[in-house]
């Protein structure tokens, strides 16, 4: 529960609702064992997310699968969420937690930007995420990558993993599918890639992770954020990069 904004009667229910963590099977007299697990499992963005810096902006990418247990609740999810005109976040973990945090940060950042009369810094957005994720670390399951462009430092990628630390990196991967592509990104990443190279690198990495992680799949959503704005792309299932293993 994140009481950042004024708690009214209508959102009181959402704020006070205890989070089901799928432990209901232990309660005596529950029907959990008789029904499929997705009727009582938490909605999670299983996920593979990634962000890469280049000179002049960032490229971000994600898969599109949201699961409740073994059921795919949404196969065309958009996990790349705008926080401001040129700042996006990539969400992984609990869908509810990450949506709530993103909404709260977008509000705070918008307000801050109006007060400053200037576009906000990516570092500021990342700090807001970090403050919330750290303060409520016991209650949240959220792994977030904040990426965007500002006029002070250009393209930047900040990683805010579970636990609430914040670290600036030239590129970052996250979500359950990311484990499988550490070797790939460590071997393929080069400093000084162009925007097109970053897009290819991100698409290949997310595709490889989608192949191996049951909680990642669907389509690849990409976005390139530069001074000129945001360019979004989708790579559909039949256009996914293919690799020759097996």
């Amino acid at each position: 529960a994140l009481p950042i904004w004024p708690v009214t009667q209508e959102n009181m229910a959402t704020v006070m609702m205890p989070v089901q963590r799928g432990e209901s099977a232990a309660r005596p007299g529950s029907y959990a064992d008789l029904t499929p697990d997705w009727t009582h499992a938490e909605v999670s963005t299983g996920t593979t997310i990634m962000a890469v810096e280049f000179d002049g902006g960032v490229v971000i990418g994600a898969d599109s699968r949201t699961t409740t247990g073994a059921y795919i609740a949404n196969r065309v999810t958009d996990k790349l969420t705008p926080i401001h005109d040129r700042i996006y976040c990539c969400r992984s973990g609990s869908a509810a937690d990450t949506q709530a945090i993103a909404d709260a940060v977008a509000y705070q950042l918008g307000f801050h930007s109006i007060e400053l009369d200037e576009p906000p810094l990516v570092h500021t957005a990342a700090s807001l995420f970090k403050e919330m994720c750290y303060k409520y670390r016991e209650d949240l399951t959220a792994g977030i990558i904040v990426a965007g462009w500002d006029s002070r430092k250009g393209g930047q990628v900040y990683s805010v993993p579970m636990g609430g630390m914040m670290v600036h990196q030239p590129f970052s991967i996250g979500g359950s599918g990311s484990s499988y592509i550490y070797g790939f990104v460590d071997s393929s990443y080069k400093k000084g890639m162009t925007k097109e190279e970053c897009l290819t690198f991100t698409a290949n990495a997310v595709a490889l992770a989608m192949e191996r992680d049951g909680s990642s799949g669907g389509v690849i959503r990409l976005a390139a954020i530069t001074e000129g704005g945001v360019e979004r792309k989708v790579i559909l299932g039949n256009e996914l990069p293919r690799f020759n293993i097996g």
Partner: protein
Amino acid sequence: MDITGDASEVRTGTTIIAVEFEGGVVMGSDSRVSAGESVVNRVFNKLSPLHERIYCALSGSAADAQAIVDMAQYQLEMHSMEVGAPPQVIAAANVVRNISYKHKEELSAHLMVAGWDRRKGGQVYGTLDGMLTRHQVCIGGSGSSYIYGYVDSAYKSRMSKEECLQFVTNALTLAMGRDGSSGGVVHLVTITKDGVEPKLILSNDLPQFYDNE
């Protein structure tokens, strides 16, 4: 790799890999053996001979893995004498698989079997959970999760022996860079009709990859 027993049990945290090529197989492993947070052996060779041209790669509980190897070596030697010929790789894989499957509730080790025989040349078999699966590339151990993407993208069929050695070395180095339970040196073994060629690559000779600058 989930730890079911005492957290400070001695485990070969591990990254192991075996690749088939025209004429044989290349196997590789890291060299770290951990007991909880301590590294009790930093130069352990996880590639164990089962017979003259058949090796296995160990992962999981060190004791369980060695026990399986001992049993398998004995059974294979008996089988080989009875048949009057070197055992087939698939026979060795079945011996290991049967032990793993029969005692799967008590054991927590995974052995990968690879080698060369006259009938089918180079072969790689996985015996995870008591299954028997043949692969062109098989990876295992806790460090293997991090290199699925690399292996899927970098493997090409019909590689030469040298390309396989480079591929295996790269994969192990990348896994050792990300998995806290894998590390040390890289042990390699090439098995062909001409015999077994072991190789050791020390840490400073490993390839360099992106390392957060």
